[in-house]
């Protein structure tokens, strides 16, 4: 069974964060160190850095939805567990959910993903500041600080991607 959550994670973390944002940041670092030659340096760097803004707001939602959509309690909405009596459901559903939360360390995973997300946000702000400080036609020396900031942001994005990947890939029974 694949949930919307799994699909959304794949789209957001795999397709967009890892293959879009992180690769764009490496590209920006290539521009900074002169491995990639572009006609409009500022425009290109700006496009690479602001990739983060395209969908960053979706992470909070994804993390919040995880508990509701990936808990085995969703099986109680389906046959055969939906046939349990209301009385049974009343105690079994919370128990199932709580056991799963502990076994999967959901709270810890959520917390570390949230910290990773906040770290990227912070790194992004710093990268933006370094970018804003660039002159109109920057040369290599002007971009040293930005290079460091991009490196930090890339590392933060990679940590976030790992944190998101750490969530289970299927709804596991307890």
């Amino acid at each position: 069974m694949t949930t919307n959550w799994q699909n959304d994670r794949a789209q957001l973390s795999h397709n967009w964060l890892q293959n879009g944002v992180i690769v764009a940041l490496y590209h920006a670092m290539g521009v900074v160190i002169g491995r990639v030659r572009v006609r409009e340096v500022r425009k290109t760097l700006n496009e690479d850095i602001i990739r983060w803004c395209e969908r960053h707001h979706e992470f909070s939602d994804l993390l919040i939805r995880f508990e509701a959509e990936m808990s085995p309690k969703v099986f109680f909405d389906q046959v055969p567990l939906c046939r349990c009596s209301d009385e049974t459901k009343e105690w079994l559903i919370p128990l199932t959910h709580e056991l799963w939360m502990r076994r999967e360390n959901v709270k810890e995973k959520n917390a570390s993903a949230m910290v990773a997300f906040q770290t990227v946000e912070c790194a992004y702000e710093k990268a933006c500041s370094a970018f804003e400080a660039l002159p109109e036609s920057p040369v290599a020396e002007d971009m040293e600080l930005l290079g460091l900031r991009l490196r930090d942001m890339t590392t933060a994005c990679e940590t976030l991607a790992r944190a998101i990947s750490a969530f289970p890939h299927e709804i596991r029974c307890v």
Partner: protein, 611 residues
């Protein structure tokens, strides 16, 4: 003749997809990250951007149909199409040096949301993200079965641990995590160790698969200090390959010594002294101390040519050096330590001699090949390298012969060179070309009459390489012109559209596929081979003459025919065709020759004989 960059094929659903506005920004970013030059040819790379000092050329392929997907389209994995794409870059140059293969390919419908997030990317299905079902592993399985020599590296942002056993079992040589700071360096390393790339120094000239495999084996052998055995026929270039190993082993820019000992030219009595050196007074005539070749090679490589000629007592002495790393000059009481890698070469079946006690020590052989055996193919097994080699030897011969005119090798002369079996291998080819230039210094063309072969045994009765002349075709009921005309004129009445719905596109694709396959086959069959284009230059005029069975058709009419074929292809097929380098050349040539000519049916279109 500067060798071109290695060409990498990247099979990846995201980076290989085509985008409506022809600007796959993510692909350009990936090229910037890894230092790749995008040569896919779908005009996706930004024109105002350049990767400085790229390490390789990259061709991207989606591995799915359609290549260009819009909202509402269904994207499906295309194993057969992927294999066909790989095949064309394996059978014809420029060949893939390496394949980078993604694991997870997302399929399904392109929705408004998925398209907004990433243009042309579908929403994905459950099975896509299941490590046991990754489409990349299915591609890998087929690649390994059909092209066991093609190096494949996994390039993915998925977890390596989930699939490491599967990709290793199916023959992938490594894994590069796509978005990781170490990945570009990893790619560089993989290119060095696994890619099928020519010799950048141009000493070992050629692009044939057989030679590239030998060069790769040499680079791998050079990466450690173990001894290596090179096997190859006389004149095949064993010493050059040994030098290549030596040069590949250069670290930190420090040149390692390379010392040659030709075992075939030394008398048994001098062999020991030559190899180990001697002290003053060691024997009659030894009036001063002499450093042996092994000591000269200290810190580098000693090349032992024709190892099979080594006398038995020298074999014993050499084995002692290999075991103890101490060399003792003749007449000396003690030895000195040396750090030498031995590169031995032979054209004999030395293993049989060693196994049967036929004069070569098995324990010595084991020591000499502890780093592996490299097999250098004879020239007849890498025939496609002959034009390149010939061109190089012509330049050398002209430079060596004072006053010799600069010349071109005619296609007919290339044909003659290609038809010979070269029992004396590259050395014989070199001698042949030098003789041709020396005997005819005052000409501007090297023609067949200038070429004389040293051995009649090399004269073949058949030849495997394609001729540059047009092939005569046999009788058949099939007319190619009818095929094109039918493709142009087939229309479905609107009243029957619903009846045909869903089937017509498939039929059109199949029909177009046949037409285009025929065109491609004709283009390949009529390539013109020249020293500058040893892989053959694609020519549309002879190809169309062949297809139409009409030798009278003009070049402009031939261009019209090619345009007619392309114009009538379904869009998806046309895009796939233009990704094929052979067909792209044909298309571009036709458009260049007839930029404004009508693409409509001409009632008097030349319809010739049968194909």
């Amino acid at each position: 003749m500067k060798p071109s960059l290695p060409r990498i094929l990247i099979i990846d659903d995201l980076f290989g997809r085509q985008i409506k506005d022809r600007s796959n920004r993510d692909r350009a970013n990936l090229c910037g990250m890894y230092g790749l030059r995008d040569v896919t040819g779908d005009e996706a790379f930004p024109s105002d951007e350049e990767v400085v000092n790229p390490i390789a050329e990259a061709v991207f392929f989606r591995g799915q149909r359609p290549l260009l997907a819009d909202v509402g389209d269904k994207v499906e994995n295309d194993l057969d199409g992927t294999m066909a794409f790989v095949r064309q870059g394996w059978d014809t140059a420029p060949r893939w040096s390496l394949v980078l293969l993604d694991l997870c390919f997302y399929t399904g419908t392109v929705t408004k949301t998925s398209d907004k997030n990433l243009s042309g990317v579908p929403e994905g299905r459950a099975v896509d993200d299941d490590p046991r079902e990754y489409f990349g592993l299915r591609i890998l399985e087929r690649l390994h079965a059909e092209f066991p020599d093609l190096p494949v590296i996994i390039l993915s942002s998925k977890q390596r641990e989930e699939v490491s056993q599967s990709f290793t079992a199916h023959g992938a040589l490594g894994f590069i995590p796509r978005s990781d700071s170490t990945s570009p360096e990893k790619l560089r390393d993989y290119l060095w160790r696994h890619a099928l790339t020519p010799d950048a120094s141009d000493q070992m000239v050629g692009n044939s698969r057989a030679l590239l495999l030998a060069l790769r084996a040499a680079r791998r052998a050079a990466s450690d200090s173990h001894n290596v055995l090179i096997r190859g026929e006389r004149g095949a270039g064993k010493e050059l390959l040994a030098r290549y190993v030596n040069e590949c082993a250069i670290k930190a820019g420090i040149k390692r010594p390379f010392v040659v000992v030709d075992s075939g030219t030394l008398s048994p009595s001098l062999y020991g002294s030559e190899l180990f050196g001697h002290v003053k007074g060691a024997y009659t005539g030894a009036d001063r101390e002499r450093q042996g070749r092994i000591s000269q090679a200290d810190g580098g490589d000693l090349f032992l040519d024709e190892i099979g000629n080594m006398p038995a007592d020298v074999q014993t002495g050499l084995l002692r050096v290999l075991e103890t790393r101490l060399v003792t000059p003749v007449g000396a009481g003690s030895g000195r330590e040396v750090d030498v890698r031995f590169i031995a070469a032979t054209n004999e079946d030395i293993e049989i001699r060693a196994a049967s006690g036929g004069g070569f020590r098995a324990d010595l052989l084991d020591r000499l090949r502890e780093g592996g055996t490299i097999v250098l193919p004879p020239l007849r097994e890498r025939r496609e390298d002959v034009p390149l080699l010939a061109e190089q030897f012509v330049l050398q011969a002209e430079a060596a012969r004072v006053g010799a005119m600069k010349r071109k090798i005619t296609p007919e002369a290339v044909d003659k060179l290609l038809a010979y079996n070269w029992p004396g291998n590259v050395r014989e080819l070199r001698n042949c070309i030098f003789k041709a230039v020396n005997d005819h210094p005052d000409v501007e063309h090297l023609v067949p009459d200038h070429i004389s072969f040293a051995s009649e045994s090399g004269m073949p009765v058949t030849r495997e390489a394609p001729k540059t002349t047009e092939t005569q075709v046999g009788a058949s009921d099939f007319k190619f012109a009818d095929l094109i005309r039918l493709m142009e004129s087939t229309e479905v009445p609107s009243s029957e559209t619903m009846v045909w719905a869903g089937r017509l596109p498939e039929l059109q694709r199949a029909y177009a596929g046949i037409t285009i396959k025929l065109l491609r086959a004709a283009l390949l069959a009529t390539r013109r081979f020249t020293p500058k284009n040893p892989q053959g230059e694609v020519k549309i005029h002879p190809a169309i003459k062949l297809l139409m069975g009409n030798p009278e058709i003009s070049a402009s009419k031939a261009a019209d025919q090619v345009k007619r074929i392309f114009v009538n292809l379904p869009e998806s097929v046309r895009i796939e065709c233009l990704a094929d380098p052979i067909l792209k050349v044909a298309h571009d040539t036709a458009v260049r020759l007839r930029p404004r000519a009508s693409n409509k049916i001409t009632t008097n279109a030349p319809v010739g004989g049968p194909l």
